[in-house]
Symmetry: C2
Subunit: 161 residues, 2 copies
């Protein structure tokens, strides 16, 4: 598996995965009906870096890395990860998360923060904990899950020093 920077053309190929993830409304607080152009702006243009995981010409996953806040909060990184349904369970999210931590360190970030990990997404929560992230907050009923209704979100954090 190769990790390389994502291009706008990659995002067009990745769009069915991206659209599936946001339409599911069980992990991201993104508008579920956004256009490909809005998606690329959010995922590929606004962040500091956007990467894609590729194997045999297939795009297995993608992540972005950006500052979580401006000015006095700009030393904390934030990332989002997506894995293609067919590629799940193969450690791709873990590989991307490890890679993103290294990229964040190299860019000078001191920590990484996830603002909105959906509590019912237990696979993700367990993975981030395994990778060293701590749950530092729990916001009650802040996510409207398509199946479960209102569920909590978790704030997760890891120092990168």
């Amino acid at each position: 598996m190769l990790l390389r920077k994502m291009t706008a053309v990659d995002f067009q190929h990745f769009w069915p995965v991206f659209q599936g993830v946001i339409a599911a409304q069980d992990s991201y607080a993104f508008a579920p009906d956004m256009t490909l152009q809005q998606g690329w702006q959010l995922w590929g243009e606004l962040p500091l870096q956007t990467w894609v995981a590729e194997e045999d010409g297939e795009l297995l996953g993608s992540y972005f890395l950006k500052a979580n806040a401006a000015g006095p909060g700009s030393h904390v990184a934030n990332c989002g990860y997506m894995v293609a349904p067919a590629a799940r369970g193969r450690g791709i999210a873990a590989a991307m998360c490890e890679h993103s931590q290294q990229q964040a360190r190299e860019a000078g970030f001191l920590a990484m923060q996830f603002n909105s990990v959906v509590a019912s997404n237990t696979v993700a929560v367990a993975l981030w904990q395994k990778l060293g992230f701590a749950i530092v907050g729990r916001v009650p009923l802040a996510y409207r899950h398509r199946e479960h209704g209102l569920v909590d979100i978790l704030v997760m954090h890891k120092p990168l020093a």
Copy 2:
């Protein structure tokens, strides 16, 4: 004291207060060197509503109200408040916060969340608690305070039902 919608011209008048608050780097995770135009975009254009507190032609404070996240997170409101130094200690932040909760309720929001209350800003933390907000998270060292160095930020939350 009158609360009314803020205009771009109001923001020009309010700019010295706004600039002083962000330059102090003790409360907001905003770029401390942003321009007036960037400030207005962030404070006045991007949010759903922006209000100003006025008395005898003086602008005493301002706040914005917006959704804290998109799609499945869009039922949670987020606000930011600023009070002119000369007007502090007169209950203006409290009045604006109460007003913002009512506006948020009328706009259909179910809760209000503050993502980044600087822990060393004990006056603000105590005020939000008095107004019914609970501390639901604490992110270690996520704010670079101009005087104190790295300090924690608090996530605070109040149901609006």
